[in-house]
Amino acid sequence: MPNVETALKEATTIDGALGAALVDYASGMALGTIGGGKDLDLAVAAAGNTDVVRAKVRTMEMLGIQDEIEDILITLGSQYHLIRLLRARGSQGFFLYLALDKQRANLAMARHQLKKIESELEV
């Protein structure tokens, strides 16, 4: 049974993965985390990134775009942060959060793998 734990473990096998979390964006709580550490507190990252998602949702409403967010990419000097929203009926309002080391990551591959992990959580 693919579950939160296996999904997060799989996320850490993505090249360059530094940490991952499954986050409830209405409350800002991380339902599960893996990796991270003192340089990257995933509980804090989870709470903070809910504001990112909320801001984007609001912006789309302002623009009148009738669409859904699939993922959000934030590029830092040394890291990529990927946010992927879950869309199954029972898990709306949650997202997967993945931090990657920019030097070691293949962005296109990472997006693809994260999409696969999301779909496995929901079927």
């Binding site: 209405a26 409350s27 985390t33 898990s91 929901e122």
Partner: protein
């Protein structure tokens, strides 16, 4: 990067005993106890000291989250309870019968645990009792450490007040206000506002929407902060009657001589 876990990497502060949300829960977790911790506003189920389920009359349970909020057909839920409730494997039945993806169920169940625990552990939830050995018919889905639940409960209390520090909003009827020209209201907010009829409280809205009650309270606080929901005014403090000095209240005979002199002076000048 070893095992997936509910974030527990932040060690509890050394003074956790004094700041503990529930000293009894802390002790039961240390004892690795199994059973049900009953409080006025909810019940936590423990297995080997970890929390495996929680429910509270203040918030919709897993059934409502899955059927109203998640689109699971109510008959599928009833079937699972009828056929697997007695052997305490409702969760497993839902997944094995194909009603629900394992991941979906787990996510919803975790959300329900933290939501119910927030109310069960709220201050004023009364005395705690522990029924050793009691288990819940939902069966095993996922367990979370008690310390993670306590930490999240504290974080949620602080978050509510950080957003908009008016606790009366949590229990008062939600009264929508018209959006300012050009103000954006998101889809999620709109569906909440549509159900807000000026009578329902955030808790009642949570049932109608099939969303966790804490989430609804937080949404309402955000809406109030944005001016899209009325913020109930705190009742005005009952003002102590102003005590006037004696010389004002005491009945005194008018100074007739003074009044005459005043009248004479006025008449002379007219």
């Amino acid at each position: 990067m070893t095992s997936a876990s509910i974030p527990a990497q932040v060690p509890p502060p050394a003074s956790s005993a004094s700041t503990s949300v529930s000293p009894l829960l802390t002790r039961l977790a240390e004892e690795r106890a199994t059973g049900a911790l009953l409080r006025d506003r909810g019940t936590l189920f423990l297995e080997d000291g970890r929390i495996v389920h929680a429910e509270s009359p203040a918030t919709p349970g897993l059934e409502v989250l899955l059927t109203v909020g998640g689109g699971l057909a109510p008959e599928r839920w009833r079937e699972a309870v009828d056929r697997a409730g007695a052997r305490r494997q409702v969760a497993r039945f839902l997944v094995d019968s194909g009603s629900l993806a394992g991941g979906e169920l787990e996510i919803c169940h975790l959300a329900a645990i933290f939501d119910a625990a927030f109310f069960a552990l709220s201050p004023g939830s009364g005395p705690s009792r522990f029924r050793r050995g009691a288990t819940h018919w939902i069966g095993s889905v996922r367990s979370v450490p008690a310390v993670a639940v306590e930490r999240e409960t504290r974080r949620r209390r602080e978050l509510l007040d950080a957003v908009w520090p008016y606790p009366r909003l949590d229990t008062s009827p939600v009264v929508p206000r018209e959006a300012a020209p050009g103000q954006t209201v998101t889809l999620r907010q709109r569906s909440l506002l549509r159900h807000a009829d000026g009578v329902r409280t955030p808790g009642q809205l949570a049932w109608a929407l099939g969303r966790p009650a804490f989430h609804t309270m937080l949404d309402v606080r955000r809406l109030a902060a944005a001016g899209l929901v009325d913020t109930p005014h705190e009742p005005p403090p009952t003002r102590a009657p102003v005590v006037l000095p004696d010389w004002v209240t005491r009945h005194q005979p008018p100074d007739v001589a003074l009044l005459r002199r005043l009248r004479d002076a006025l008449e002379a000048s007219l």
